[in-house]
Amino acid sequence: MGTEQVAAAQPLLIGVLLLWSSYGKFKNPQQADRTALPRLVGDSRAKSAYLAVAALEALIALGLLAPPFTAIEAVAAAALGLGFTGFLIYSKIVVPEASCGCAGKSAKPVGYRAIARALLLLATAVLATTATGGWWSAGLALVVLVAEAAVFVMLSAELDRYWLLPIRRFRTRLSHPYAGTASSTPPLAATQRRVLLSPAYRAVDGMLRSDIHDYWDDEDWRYLSYIARYDGRRATAVFAVPHQDSTPESVRVAVVDETSGLTLYRPTVLATA
């Protein structure tokens, strides 16, 4: 299996890739707006330019895949690869937030993987121009395509969820990086939610002026203080949330004047509605 056969095999891979990317473009033509095309050819022409590229891809792909063999198809693919690479580099520099739009739906901005993939397409197309026969004459060299295809898959952000995410999911299942984070002290977010859902909060809600001002734990209780306004003067509303009792009625509240230390308001019988 010489370079000759490997070169001859390339059109099969290039053809399949171009068909896939052309299909993606035809299926989601509105993706054009997310690419750098509107900037390059104008908003009104972006979609037609996108579809024109898709049609060109399909044409070259079918030319490469179907007999008879002609070298001009590989040259066209190489030109297309060069165009893609140039366009992606342009996108990255001029419109960094633009997505690649390479093979349909993806909001990911153009990254080095997309550019590497275009370069790989260019390289395989250049190799294909040296071929002297069609891919059906490549024989065992087709095996090389498996490795090349794997590299293409790895460079395709669109396909991550089919192989990369499952691998990562499996890895976290074996050993989760945050396995030891459970603790018996409830997080503040949990206490805040209990306060918000309590009758005590409803009793003083209209007086509160700030977000949580201070919080502390003391024995069986967690306290949360808010700055409040009571009868036109500054006050502090302090909630006491028991660690043990989780019913909404167990939350207590008092409105305190901190300068005098006096309690201004403390609802005694709280509605349980």
Partner: protein
Amino acid sequence: MTTTMDRRSLLSRAALGATGLVAASALGSLAPETAFAAGAQFADAGQPDPNFAEGLITGRNQDLLQVQGSDGRLHRIQLTGVTSVWKLRPTTIDQAKIGDGLYARGVLLPDGVLAAEAVWVNIVNLTVAITSIARSGVQFDHHGQKVVGHVQAGTTAAVYNGTPAVSDLSMLKVGRHAQVIGAWRPGTNEIDIATIYTSN
């Protein structure tokens, strides 16, 4: 520190009902003009809310912040001992630093300074997909952009399927969608996670 302790113990006792209750009128005048002197102004229709400000802190003179709003307006925001400051967790007013982003709510004083009652520093609310979980951080895909979320032991909480928040993050799964409340690290694509809402 002792004052904080005294303060907390006074408030604790009050909340538990161990102190006496007084009528507010015993403390002095309740004339309407006193009550409403520092009251909030109301927004005019179609005008920005005078009692709210947002932007990046560009200067700080003791507790007076200079803030450049994202709409180009400049704000002066006064922090006081009665301002609540959130920066990943409720914290103290010295944590609002130059370069931080903030949202502030308070009362607009006649001299144009906003006397802040509540300030949220660097707070972000993101809808994301979890793309990777590692000890060094959780990677998120935020509508195509990569965001790294850092877990802060003792602060970061998770809410699974809407149940009460827990500190156990071991049920986070790669590929799941999540909503994250966190504190942005200025100038980076990194955040510290306050609460992550997801499914398990």
